[in-house]
């Protein structure tokens, strides 16, 4: 993605003389000195400079600085695809809210409050986003330990019921962080919604239709929803805190467990950010392998959406058919990475293994077969009368909503916004393959369905081209950049070469220090733009790693779209947004 050009920056600088501009190779930001002026600057950027696409807002904690918290917005101009970050310091923990300018900031600010305890003037609805209402701490602050503060005795019931054995069945710490009671949870629920209609209906958190552990509160007037609140955090595992405590390469397996349906795509976004930070070149073969696996994973993820989305609307057959193809893709991934779901296949600087023998033949056969299977899915649903009635003109998302809420991926493209990181800022081998981006027309559930179906077709095309390119490559082509000091050498070299063994030992034990600087880099996940912002202070682990989650922002439009619609539409809409809880909550 081209960052904001110097002409744009000059223009902004001319209007606002007090701001400073910081240009780094992979990061361009405006630093705003006067906190109160931020509202004007954001308005100006949105209305005059056309930076209307809200991408992210997050906070960085500097305990030793005078103002401590630094807020950062990331905006995109949807016409020229320029990207710009705006930094502003909180004045005594306070910042004017941006939710009037960008609706997506509403949830982002709630998250910032939850994690850092910062306040927003004019935001009356600042409540906990992930934790429960009476939670005492602000976990992402630098002075809060990763493991939390143990304050409750919580023994293992296996030991309680069956007695202590020797040697002990469990090796664990009996003290545990505070686990809320059902009363705490009820209090959280009550604080979220003031009843206006006739009935408040709970949907979730442990309901099969909510795709995981999301919790919806619907305030109903008859069958129509007049108020909605989404309670998240039923899978908040503290990913961003973990990243701050690990070396760069150690965080890679954790990205798999975020959006667990598209593990390779997550890894690709992450390694890309680190590679940009450390300036690591990736060999061509590795780029093709990455692209091929990312696209296989995209098909895999869309198939799960197809299966469960149709299952939610009552079509069980599609679920079984979609899982049949998923098994084949998982076999290809397992054959190469050794793992079905959370593959950890990529490495910083390349891929973990060379392609396993026979992968290309299997993949080729799969793709050839997949086109006919795709026709089968179309035959089951595309002109199915029940499917059309449930999805046409349901859950319409407008283009303005896309920009306001920062929606990305098929949700944005279904509404006609051709925003795809693979084309805008080609990474891996996407600049070497030929593919199209499908866009929808009116942005209803049916449009998003068609967009995803077409994306699967395009992905299959990309896989075909990657196979073709990989077949032409000589067998001993390098698949990892061994020369760079920050890259872990492949295992067979570690066992056979002294230098590589020493290098591997050094990186694993001490980690490799990365250069100072900031990077925001994103990749196109099956669900949208997954971005990683890394603030490096020259150590072997990031000072702050922010995950810009696509599911989180995509879901934030849900309460608006479902207003005055029925509960059955809510099921269809949620299926078409297709969030994954591991990523919304992180």
């Amino acid at each position: 993605m081209p960052w904001a050009s110097s002409q744009t920056l000059d223009r902004i600088k001319r209007t606002f003389r007090k701001i400073t501009i910081d240009t780094q190779p992979n990061f361009v930001c405006l630093i705003v000195e006067d906190t109160q002026e931020i509202t004007n600057i954001l308005k100006h950027l949105k209305d005059v400079e056309d930076f209307r696409y809200f991408i992210d807002f997050h906070v960085i904690d500097f305990p030793k600085e005078k103002d401590r918290f630094l807020g950062q917005y990331i905006l995109v101009n949807p016409y020229t695809f320029e990207r710009l970050a705006i930094k502003v310091w909180f004045k005594s923990n306070k910042l004017p809210t941006a939710k009037e300018i960008f609706a997506g900031a509403k949830w982002a600010e709630r998250e910032a409050y939850d994690m850092f305890g910062v306040e927003f003037e004019g935001h009356e609805d600042v409540k906990r986003m992930f934790m429960w209402e009476d939670y005492k701490y602000f976990p992402l602050r630098k002075d809060f330990p990763l493991g939390g503060i143990p304050e409750q005795k919580l023994p293992s019931l296996t030991e309680v019921l069956e007695g202590n054995t020797f040697p002990p069945s469990h090796d664990y710490d009996i003290m545990h962080t505070y686990v809320p009671t059902i009363k705490d949870i009820e209090k959280t629920e009550k604080s979220r919604i003031t009843k206006k209609g006739q009935l408040v209906l709970n949907w979730g958190p442990l309901h099969p239709g909510t795709h995981g552990t999301m919790w919806f509160l619907f305030d109903l007037e008859g069958e129509h929803i007049i108020q909605t609140d989404v309670i998240l955090g039923q899978l908040h595992r503290g990913m961003e805190k973990i990243a701050e405590n690990l070396h760069y390469f150690q965080f890679l397996p954790y990205t798999d467990r975020m959006d667990y349906l598209s593990a390779v795509c997550n890894e690709l976004s992450y390694v890309q950010a680190v590679e940009k930070l450390a300036n690591i070149e990736v060999p061509l073969k590795a780029r093709y392998i990455r692209t091929m696996f990312a696209e296989l994973q995209r098909i895999n993820s869309h198939l799960l959406w197809l299966g469960t989305g149709a299952l939610d609307l009552g079509a069980l057959t599609v679920f079984l058919y979609a899982f049949r193809e998923r098994e084949k893709i998982m076999d290809i991934i397992e054959g190469n990475a050794g793992f079905r779901l959370t593959s950890a296949f990529l490495r910083i600087g390349g891929v973990h293994y060379d392609l396993a023998k026979g992968t290309l033949e299997v993949a080729k056969y799969f793709v050839k077969d997949f086109y006919s299977k795709l026709k089968e899915y179309h035959g089951l649903l595309t002109r199915n009368r029940i499917w059309l009635k449930r999805t046409k003109d349901v859950g319409v998302i407008t283009q303005e909503d896309v920009y306001q809420y920062g929606l990305t991926g098929p949700v944005a493209r279904g509404s006609g916004v051709a925003y795809d990181m693979r084309k805008i800022d080609p990474y891996a081998a996407y600049d070497l393959v030929d593919f199209d981006i499908p866009v929808g027309d009116i942005g209803d559930v049916y449009d998003r369905y068609l967009v995803r179906m077409e994306e699967m077709y395009q992905s299959a095309r990309i896989v075909e081209q990657c196979i073709e390119a990989l077949e032409k490559m000589p067998e001993n082509e390098p698949y990892v950049n061994k020369k760079h000091p920050a890259v872990l050498p492949p295992k067979e070299d570690v066992f056979n070469d002294l230098e590589d063994m020493v290098k591997s030992f050094r990186i694993v034990v001490h980690g490799e220090n990365m250069p100072k600087g900031e990077v925001y880099s994103s990749g196109e996940n099956p669900r949208g733009e997954l971005g990683f912002y890394i603030y490096s202070i020259g150590k072997s682990s990031p000072y702050r790693l922010r995950i810009r989650s696509c599911s989180f922002y995509n879901l934030s439009v849900f309460p608006k779209v479902i207003y005055k619609h029925t509960i059955s539409d809510a099921v269809a809409l949620l299926g078409s947004i297709d969030p994954v809880v591991g990523e919304t909550d992180r």
């Binding site: 023994p155 995981g212 039923q234 349906l261």
Partner: protein, 177 residues
């Protein structure tokens, strides 16, 4: 005598064995997915592995289920809700902890994660893996069947005591208890 009966279309068995046979061959898990493991749980139920053939049907209501598969990371916030679901399941019931996160916190030793679901729910079978493959889950379920077979049924006596409490003394004396 047993052999002559068995040969003529009858079988002799104990009540214990009959109950345990019925229980272990109709394990109905609750449809609850928490995280990544839920996807592998879905795969176990879908086309290729199809655990329906072992008599296991996923039930969406805890009232109709007797196995709780804790599939995924249990965070502190979801723990009381999961416990509530466990309490809603009728006896006899079993719990399977699927994957590293549910068994002991897994790779998440953080402020928000429950370090092992056995701190709130007694677990019968632990399945390692991150996530376990569907084969792993099926192996765990078979192990649970074995456990039910080998462990004598003790709970029905307790259930009968509960039942007796509800009855009036006249009825009890009438049926000779």
């Amino acid at each position: 005598m047993a052999s002559s009966i068995n040969g003529n279309g009858f079988i002799t068995t104990t009540v214990d064995e009959l109950l345990s046979w019925g229980r272990r061959n109709a394990l109905w898990p609750v449809t609850i997915g928490l995280a990544c493991c839920a996807i592998e749980m879905m795969h176990a139920a879908a086309s290729r592995f199809d655990i329906d053939r072992l008599g296991m049907i996923f039930r969406a209501s805890p009232r109709q289920a007797d196995v709780l598969i804790v599939a995924g990371t249990v965070v502190n916030k979801v723990a009381p809700m999961l416990k509530l679901i466990w309490d809603q399941m009728p006896e006899p019931k079993w719990c399977i902890s699927m994957g590293g996160c549910a068994s002991a916190g897994g790779p998440f030793p953080t402020y928000s994660t429950l370090q092992g679901v056995d701190r709130i729910i007694p677990v019968d079978v632990y399945i390692p893996g991150c996530p376990p493959t569907p084969q792993g889950l099926i192996y765990g379920l078979l192990e649970l069947q074995r456990k039910i077979r080998e462990k004598k049924v003790t709970r029905y006596e307790k259930a009968f005591e509960e039942f007796k409490k509800d009855l009036s003394p006249e009825i009890l004396s009438g049926i000779g208890v």
